[in-house]
Amino acid sequence: QRRAIPFTLGVPRNYDPTLHPFEVPREYTRALNATKLERVFAKPFVASLDGHRDGISCITKHAKSLSTIISGACDGEVKVWNLPRQECLRTVQAHEGFVRGICSRFCGTSFFTVGDDKTIKQWNWEAPGYGVREEPINTILGKAVFTGIDHHQREGTFVTCGQTVDIWDEQRSSPIRSFSWGVDSFSCVRYNPVETELLASCASDRSVVLYDTRESAPLRKVIMQLRSNTLCWNPMEAYYFTCANEDYNLYTYDIRHLDVPVTVHMDHVSAVLDVDYSPTGREFVSASFDKTIRIFPKDKGHSREVYHTKRMQHVICVRWSADNKYVLSGSDEMNIRLWKANASEKLGLLSAREKAATHYNKKLIEKFQHHPQVRRIARHRHLPGDILKQKRELREMREAQRRKEQNVRKHSKPGSVPLLTEKEKHVVAVVE
């Protein structure tokens, strides 16, 4: 066993490079080993929370507590979970039909739910005493079905979407403002967490609409080729948001230049249903109908990680925990799964030496990332057969499309078939 050397004594050491030759080959070997170990220790799945009796439709984090989450199911049931103990604390039959959206109040004292029964309900975070019936603090009856809800970051207002996008004051039973642009229904609405007066919503006419809550009319909208399901703002960079699209891709937009997305994130092989940014704003996680969740760096076109299990079905909702350590996914088969955001990370407190070693290893992998062996091992991921098959199919299709387009271009008047980049392809128009 190795004896710890008191730090204060220090270890005399001669750093003369002639005494320590072959630094590159030695570091290369270390890097290769680090990469292999990283893959071997990559066990992202932490826990599964079961208890719902229908597919999970939405998940929300507690605003002030890391260990608490709420989930809503397709049968109108809302459950409050304790993550470290992996148990359900409280079950509420909140709505008839789907629970469409949940959001937590910024202070963490209550939460709101909307459902298919055209109501908005506000619930206390505290469970009622023994024998007391679960009653919402407040119930608002709406005229149409609400499909999403989000709460303001610091004020007592919230926004819902459905037939229109409505902004509500918590004290009132009618919206203080409602926006609509044409006769579409909206599937998702989100407040910008940084510029809290900005709103964005996904409409069923394939558009993403931006609003300013202080103005009477929506600011502008971008129409895409297929519908966006959800969107999420970057919590650290006020003018970027990412939307999850039906065409298997995710698009990151800069609200100042909506005509071309900043990045197209492609890797999923089916519609992307949900997206959530990490609280550091560096990465985001997406849930897809293809039964996988993927983690993308915010500025890269391809994912750095893909998570799946045999039993996980279509993933409907996904959230990144507020401490940047975990990812929560809710899927069709009634389970909420807890994943590590960094698959091979060791959980819990690390000793100083452990920490130093992990940092060193990470740096080594980064340094030698271009070496073929390191790259190959670091990039390898297991993927179930059917998804792999779909992926190949999709690639084939894209290739065919490309070829076709090329041929058309070749045989038509020069300039009549413009060469569009992947980014430009998916935006139909920007309307102001």
Binding site: E27, K64, P193, E195, R256
Partner: protein
Amino acid sequence: TTADFAVKTHIWTDDWQVHHLIEGSDDERKHKKLLEAIGSMGGRKRKKQNERSEASVQVSEYFVNAEGTGDKVNLSDLLGTVEKTSGASNKTKKQLRNLQSSKETLELPLNKQQTEKVSAEFSVQLLVSCWKNIILQNQKAEQMVFPLNQESSGPKRVEQVVAGWKVQTPLEQEIFRLLHGSRQPVNDPVLTPVEEQSLKAMSLEEAKIRRAELQKARALQSYYEAKAKREKKIKSKKYHKVQNKAKRKDFLKQFDEMVKTNPEGALEELKKMELSRMEERMSLKHQNSGKWAKSKAIMAKYDDSARKAMQEQLQMNKDLTQKMVVPSDDEHESIEEGLETVPDFVNDPETVIDPVNPWMRGQLTHEEPEVSCVTAEEVQTAEEENEEEEIIGEFERKRKLRQVVEEDVVEVSDKEEEDEDEEEDVSEFNTLFRLMRSEKTREGSNQTRGGLNTAGEEDEEGLLSEGQIRVRSIEDLEVLDEVVEPRAIEEPSAPQTAAAEATSEPPHKKKREINLKEVLTKEAKAVRLPFLPTVVDEEERDEQISIIKEAFAGDDVISDFIKDKSRQEAAGRPAVVDLTLPGWGEWGGVGLKPPRWKRKRFRIKTAPPPPRQDQKLPDVIISEKRTASVASHQVSQLPFPFQNTAQFESSIRTPIGSTWNTQTVVKNMTKPKVVTKLGAIIEPMVKEDFIKSKTTALWLLEIGHKKFVFSVLGIVGLHVNSCAFCL
């Protein structure tokens, strides 16, 4: 009718007009009556707008008319009394007079849609513009610690801790009333109410500053508008000609720069130029066939200026019809490279990569060009004073030196040998070697290393390679290697051909091979002797040397070596292929040789290979074959963020481990980019924390961007209009 109304309400200040109106009012009335009579004759009854026959609730402003209908309202009518009143200051009177004499009518403000569009555009820009710097800063930051704006972990002040505490008992209430009644701070650092008030008063000054800024912005806006209008109104052809000329010159200047910086744009401009040339050639607009040109041609005999004009026009024609110089191959290459360095992997349709099919390997690139290497450099520059850095620098120098020494292993050995060995052969060899070495040093670094090209850029960098193999242990990883390895071995052929190109072409080309020798392994088959000074006594050393001498007494190592080398050189030389078929097209048979022309024609000589790397090193054999076992570990192409091989090599060469560096240096070098605190909630950014200092930006946001926008864009016109009277 609205136009009519506008005309009516316009303030006519022209003196002449005033006179005319006063004098000719009678005439006009008559004229009007006449017109009315004519109108009634036409059958269709004209709407009578002038009279109100009965009282009604809603009175349109269009139907209200004063008695002198049709008269144009005069400024002097409205303000005639001001001149006479003694109370009005001279200044006001003067301004009024000025106003009267000015002839300008006001511009119409923008219509509503346009204003709204501009305001929406503006509001988004304005709303988020203040974040630009912060976001950029965070992206470039070497390390970000989350949560941002952490509270200091030290002991807190009492008043911070008891912020939420409320007075409950009557005694406490009594005490607090006493304490707060005195208007003195309860605890030290809290401000007194007086101070707070004074602080609040400070905001007045701020407000003043802001107001000034607003005024400035408004003024600037109006200046620009006025300028644009003024320039637009100028009718002088000459002026525009001069302007155009200046613009053209400017453009040419810019174009030169554009070729360097933005080749795509330059290409487009080139196309435009080409188009204009074609138009000119088709229309011959500037030839001397036009009417103007003909007249000028007649005049040119007598008039100098006409001649000049003619010349100018012909020059113009010449300029326009001149064919643009097609950019040379070199430029083309640079453009291509530029295109490559503008990475956009999304644009490539074939990003999807088949691991099996080599044709599917597209160019994959990154979005973010600057990665850690740059930051590492920054660190080095920033902390030069640091002692540690000096040490590192020294180490680096030593390392490099050592590498040089390693290259010249034999040289050291030679020196050792020189002392004892008097064999003729060796001494001869040494002199030769020394000669060669001096040559080598002269050439120094401009020896081109064989280059791999970066054209392929990089395949599938960001992509995960997804497959059905599960990895559970290290053994699995080894298997994984073997499974995919064949692909790695396929690659080398391309790099080698590229190497040939690189050596034959001048060194300014960017595409180059990574010197694999430095990256990973050294596989020179050179004769090696230890470069480290072995700690042996002199006597022992002598003994050793004598032993070695004895052992190799019979061997002629050096001549063997030279033979070996010449053999290898010969093997590398291309053989001449003889394809002559005797008997074709002529008589054949035993003893008949094919004619000379035939031999000459059908003997195919392949191009000589690039010069061997060890051509000028008599004591070294460098094998130029790639060994598959090593090749699979080597980088074959220059990775994306690096500009040249030297950069990449240096990034690899610098070790980061604690074996080679001191503790603090290691800590610095290996610090992670993102640090999160365990169990802490990372809140989104809060605007107030970040944009406190920038008063303007914040103010724009606070006051309400909308108001600002309107004041700047829409209301300027109105504002001036309404203020015309109170100036």
